[in-house]
């Protein structure tokens, strides 16, 4: 929808100027950048220290799960923000949205955070009991008669989650490497070094195009699959009586929302402090925030679909789950999530003028990132605090009390987030932080022409 009035047409930048500008800025690292890198690195190390300390004091093991809920929460948080940031890009590439270009490389960088997620998930594995004789996705039982079980499968759930996650990590690294290849070559030229892998032959470009497409599809499917399994194995299956088919898809939606929010916020930072005003226009925020708005609505829709069924059913099992997740010990976290994942960003992004600005979408994105954290704490800290002896039941006999994070928990959470940002900034040095080949392609396909008495942008649609 256009608001009425004249349309400010952004200036046309030639590929030439663009390349020189970005390359120059990439080669000369700024002091602010270096400082940020250092700070995040230190915070990350502190987080690791906190983890070690907590392991020493609280101990590790399936029976110690209750006190580690916040680690699970932050892992899920990273998974549904950084880990899902590439999904937004992949989707936009699939529909060939021309405004994806400035946030392409950022998304690919966030894809690298999957490595950190891998470490965290490995740590969490120690607290998850085997899938024997309880409600899981693996239907296993050792002799104890359960209907519809497959008997014994060793290693579930741990092995399967690990395999999926490894595939995800491979995909994340692959996406970045394949896309960064071309730009590395470009940088090498300007540094007078010889290109080592990528010469930009027609064949190589073709490989790039097709490869990114296939790899993207693979990453998308793996990510959805892993989120599904993770959210069930590490949350739902730990809360007896919680049988909620929509939970995994809801986590997927939350992931898309968080991922896009992460990208919008990063794009804002890049524009504001990275001085990319010439390449990142209001139009980019405008288009992105429209999708973010839709995702907020979807978040509510999915949550509501679960809630209305529980509310109507009124079965004892459903009642206790609603107590645990919505209106019981973690009610304030739920209200927080509801406010920041839906109400506030929705009311912000509702206005076209806000969507057309850079600050508005950035603020909304920030809110969503906060709300997502609340949501994860409610879900993971909540389910992890259910005592072990109930785990095989089909209804919760007692709703556990709330657990607030202690100093170590907070240090770990901060550490994890800083670790993610550290990875992004650090790898942002290896290849430019905007995807130059993709931007140049965009600049080539964008022409401004006179049409009768008005001036219009003409966008080439090669296919």
């Amino acid at each position: 929808m256009h608001s009425n009035g004249h349309h400010h047409i952004p200036p046309v930048v030639t590929v030439q100027e663009f390349t020189e500008d970005v390359v120059a800025r990439h080669i000369a690292i700024g002091p602010r950048y270096r400082r940020a890198l250092m700070i995040f690195g230190v915070l990350f190390l502190l987080g690791v220290a906190a983890f070690v300390a907590k392991a020493a004091t609280d101990g590790i093991g399936v029976d110690k799960r209750a006190s580690w809920g916040y680690l699970a929460a932050i892992t899920a948080y990273l998974l549904t923000t950084a880990g899902t940031a590439p999904l937004a890009l992949i989707g936009l590439r699939a529909i060939k949205a021309h405004w994806r270009r400035p946030l392409a490389r950022l998304a690919e960088l966030y894809g690298l955070v999957t490595v950190l997620i891998l470490l965290l998930v490995v740590a969490l594995m120690f607290f998850i009991p085997s899938a024997m004789n309880r409600r899981t996705m693996y239907f296993q039982s050792d002799g104890v008669t359960f209907p519809g079980t497959l008997g014994k499968i060793p290693g579930a759930p741990h092995v399967y989650d690990l395999v999926l996650l490894l595939a995800l990590v491979a995909g994340g690294i692959g996406l970045w490497w394949l896309s960064a290849r071309a730009d590395k070559g470009l940088i090498a030229d300007h540094q007078g070094k010889p290109r080592n892998t990528f010469w930009g032959t027609a064949k190589q470009w073709k490989v790039q195009q097709v490869g990114l497409g296939l790899l993207g599809a693979a990453y998308f499917i793996t990510a959805v699959g892993f989120i599904t399994f993770f959210s069930i194995d590490f949350a739902m299956a730990l809360a007896p009586g919680w049988k909620d088919a929509i939970f995994a898809p809801l986590q997927g939606i939350t992931g898309l929302q968080g991922g896009l929010a992460t990208l919008i916020l990063s794009m804002y930072v890049l524009r504001r402090w990275g001085h990319f005003e010439r390449y990142i226009f209001m139009e980019h925020f405008w288009a992105a925030s429209k999708i973010l708005l839709a995702l907020c609505l979807l978040w509510f829709y999915f949550s509501w679909s679960a809630f209305i069924i529980f509310w109507y059913g009124r079965q004892p099992a459903e009642f206790s789950v609603m107590q645990l997740l919505y209106f019981g010990p973690y009610e304030w976290f739920f209200y927080g999530a509801f406010l920041f994942c839906f109400v506030a960003p929705f009311l912000t992004l509702l206005w076209n003028s806000v969507r057309k600005s850079a600050t508005g979408p950035a603020i909304a994105a920030g809110m969503i990132l906060v709300g997502n954290l609340f949501d994860k704490i409610r879900l993971y800290a909540g389910t992890w605090s259910v005592p072990n002896d109930q785990i095989a039941d089909h209804a919760m006999s007692s709703v556990p009390l709330v657990r607030y994070p202690n100093a170590l928990d907070i240090m770990m959470m901060v550490g994890a987030v800083s670790g993610a940002l550290f990875i992004v900034l650090w790898m942002g040095r290896k290849a430019p932080i905007v995807s130059m080949w993709e931007m140049s392609e965009g600049l080539r396909l964008r022409v401004v022409r006179n049409f009768l008495r008005t001036r219009l942008t003409v966008l080439g649609k090669p296919e």
Binding site: S3, N4, G5, H6, H7, F307, I308, W311, Y312, R314, N352, F451, L452, R453, T454, L456
Partner: protein, 169 residues
Amino acid sequence: MAKMLGLFKEEEAEAAANATEALEHAGYSNRNFEVLTGSPYPDGAFGERETKHHLYVFPFMGALTGLSVAILLTSATQAAYPLVVGGKPILSLPAMTIISYEGTMLGAILFTVMGILFESRLPNPAPGIYDPRITEGYIGITLSVADDRVNAVEQLFKRAGAADVIIQR
């Protein structure tokens, strides 16, 4: 005063645009003349005056109206005849939410449609000077001129390359 309509062929849109310019040189600002086309053109393609509208206000008004009506209906009807069903509360908020939501959207849609008709000044019983060829792609420029200047404007249209000029006295 006479109403005039200059018609330009579809493929000669450029000529039409020139004509509007010529009109402006001849002292008719773009609030005097109006451009009639058979299909939408980008804003300002013929240097016509820019459209101001408040369509975006309507859906919000409609949503508020619909929401309040729906809430009133649902809550009042439950309170009016309080029957316990399935141990659910007399004021079942989740159920009310769903109906209120539909009410809100209905209100928004109805008001928007009204807004569209109002803002585009439809229905319009007396459309004024018009020619069927416009829906065939011809571009029409219409304005009302003083009788003594009719010929001048006609010449102007012709010079710009009008296929036909219709004059209504």
